[in-house]
Chain length 432, copies 2
């Protein structure tokens, strides 16, 4: 399919080509109320302003719902359902098309262009959803194998349940922040010398601060309590995807996690990218995930055998002194479980999912050192330093380090479907 051509200037290589149309929440210095926008090239289209100035006048189906674009979150828009998201995206693509059906809407309407097309660099972004519950899965098989091998040896790397169900834990919603928000190094209980017999913890700044490269999916359809979502209907619940950094305090985790799982090791901050790429935009990039060599139970069996996404993922680390390096490259396809399977399993007990819930994929790693989506894996839990420059190396994150995830689908520079960036910089811990 050739790239869509636009009358509007969208630079080659932009993550936000006409093939994308991701949604987010923005404000500007002159209009500080957060509202809905889509990103396009190096601009955003402010959908509140667009709607208020008859931008949707050629799309009668959306007119009764235009108030959703004045909301400070995407929850109300998401709740309209996937058919509406598809219609709105297609309409915006048409409005920007070189041969648009509706030139009067924006192409020849310079007043509205001036009002609603805002440079990306001048806007502020916000958390795209009001997140009710956040669940983090563990669907990256390579990560599970690598991390499991380090702690239990290669034979027992995977727990017996791993290939039968998408393992997950409930996470902390209140500490999810949008890309760019600084992350303070947590203090927490750690064992300074875990090898000693006497398990005497210390309350200290985390010494093994790590990132985890994940995808996050937002839910757009609620199921009632007691009523599971069938795996082959779960695509209807999937609004779209963001990049996610599940910051992790490895030393806190090692001491606290038995027997109820990670808690304080994870709840000090989780960063997501600002622009949610719609499931519809990702449809052309669906691929088969990692083959599951056990026969999954019927409630997890998908008709669609391509249900994860070919997303080229990258992790860059920049130190306080300005050195930087791409320390990992991997791909969204390295998942054993797809989002529909996660949704089906999560709701299989009758657990009610709600619009705005966030589901993390788990850390996504390839199978070699440069493809690992965490420093835990890259440095073998602190044993192998990673060279950043001639003068700097890392085993875990240091204060002032900035971690940037990026992700993009496709190779046609004029039709990329990208996620932009998911960035966080580490601030020093509170003094004790």
């Amino acid at each position: 399919m050739p790239a869509l051509r636009s009358w509007f200037s969208i630079p080659r290589g932009s993550h936000f080509s006409l093939a994308n149309i991701p949604f987010g929440i923005i404000s500007t210095p002159s209009s500080k109320t957060p509202r809905v926008a889509v990103a396009i090239g190096e601009h955003v289209l402010d959908l509140e302003a667009f709607a208020a100035n008859n931008g949707f006048s050629a799309l009668s189906i959306i007119q009764p719902h235009q108030a959703v674009f004045s909301q400070p979150s995407l929850n109300a828009f998401a709740a309209l359902g996937r058919p509406i998201h598809a219609i709105v995206r297609k309409y915006i693509q048409d409005v920007f098309d070189a041969d648009t059906t509706y030139p009067e809407i924006l192409k020849t309407n310079s007043a509205l262009q001036k009002q609603a097309l805002l440079p990306l660099k001048e806007i502020q972004t916000y958390l795209p959803f009001k997140i009710g519950d956040y669940t983090d899965f563990f669907a990256g098989l390579n990560h599970a194998v690598k991390a499991g091998s380090m702690f239990r040896g290669p034979i027992n790397a995977l727990q017996p349940n791993y290939k039968h169900l998408p393992v997950a834990y409930h996470g902390r919603a209140s500490s999810i922040v949008v890309s760019g928000t600084p992350i303070r190094r947590p203090n927490g209980q750690i064992l300074l010398d875990p090898a000693t017999e006497k398990k005497q913890p210390t309350y200290s700044a985390c010494k093994k601060l790590d990132f985890e490269l994940e995808l996050g999916a937002f839910i757009c359809k609620a199921n009632k309590m007691g009523e599971p979502v069938p795996v082959n209907e779960a695509q209807d619940s999937l609004f779209g995807i963001v990049l996610m950094n599940d910051w992790s305090a490895r030393d806190v985790q090692a001491w606290e996690y038995v027997p109820l799982g990670p808690f304080n090791a994870k709840n000090f901050g989780t960063t997501i990218s600002a622009w949610v790429v719609l499931a519809d935009a990702l449809e052309p990039f669906k691929v088969k995930g990692i083959e599951n060599d056990v026969g999954v139970l019927p409630y997890l069996k998908e008709k669609d055998n391509k249900s994860v996404y070919d997303i080229q993922l990258k992790v860059d680390l920049q130190t306080k002194s300005g050195n930087s390096k791409t320390i990992a490259k991997t791909n969204g396809r390295h998942l054993l479980w797809s989002y529909p399977q996660m949704i089906a399993h999560h709701s299989s007990t009758g657990c009610p999912l709600q619009v705005g819930d966030l589901l993390g994929s788990g850390t996504i790693s390839g199978i070699s050192q440069s493809e690992y989506g965490s420093l835990l894996e890259q440095s073998e839990n602190g044993k192998i330093p990673i060279k950043i420059s001639d003068s700097e190396e890392r085993i875990f994150l240091e204060d002032g380090d900035e971690v940037t995830f990026s992700g993009v689908c496709g190779s046609d520079e004029e039709a990329l479907v990208g996620f932009g960036e998911c960035v966080g910089r580490i601030e020093p811990a509170l003094k004790l």
Copy 2:
């Protein structure tokens, strides 16, 4: 302290004496919009109607905030802070006092009595808070020892971290329901024969459905991300307490919980009582919890050496055929960690707590069979049947079983501070 006497009829033995004044959310058949009320004897005082009819005319400090009583949750009232909760409670106690300072407000105002004093049996109750995040602790030492012994033997019953930090996991907020809501038995992945070498799970109705007797605390003060709540300031964050049933699918839990903790075993439903007893009302019942024989780290050290509550707790089970029995009696004092310690630990990494967050205590058990707060403990994981009547026994819950928790502080029948009931009945699983 002698019991407060009221001009209003409050039956002896009522959980909702003048010493209590618990808050909740109600509606009536003639006025279906949920709003704030307090329970008093066998009635509630509708605070929306009370406020609208000058009920707070003698309390100027609350007048700018009266809109909080028209909300469908207690979040806005709770956010006013503990000093305001105390003032409002004391004022309502005064209004109902036999020698009230303000007889014209309600005592001699039969029109307002008729409008705002509604029989408990005619109102509907709702979830008292809009719950952002829900965290479940594991602070019941006796439960941890008993459950740990069953799975790992008495020597290794407690994990090395247990006495150093309040172990917890993040729970699922969306499936928390108010007392009286039916609970559907979940379907889930279980091992029908866990002893076999071949770990082949089945998707089946849960066969080991259990209750867990807990207390739940609501948070009334937010801390900013990155800024921990000091343990000796944590009382300010504590709005009040409810009874909580953390329904648990033991067979689902046994298979899924390694390595990330309980997930689907818990997320199908959690029941809380409708009336939140203010921390102020519980103040006279503060007692010392279980002695912690390791020296806790300074960030968990409380000046107050009485910081758990002497609450007499009871579990009744009624079967479908109408047999019923009190199957457990225990006490809120059986906790190793207090709520201020839980709050301090939870926020010690900088995790932001928000108004309306719910913190579960963990299962509260005494040390003998009739004091265990779960069937897992009582039946030794299904080995020892519990006699309900001459014709019925239980190892886990069966369809139609109704579990009722109750809790009360004090012995003066005219001054009880009680929680009412936390009830749920098991409905059959969805057919597969």
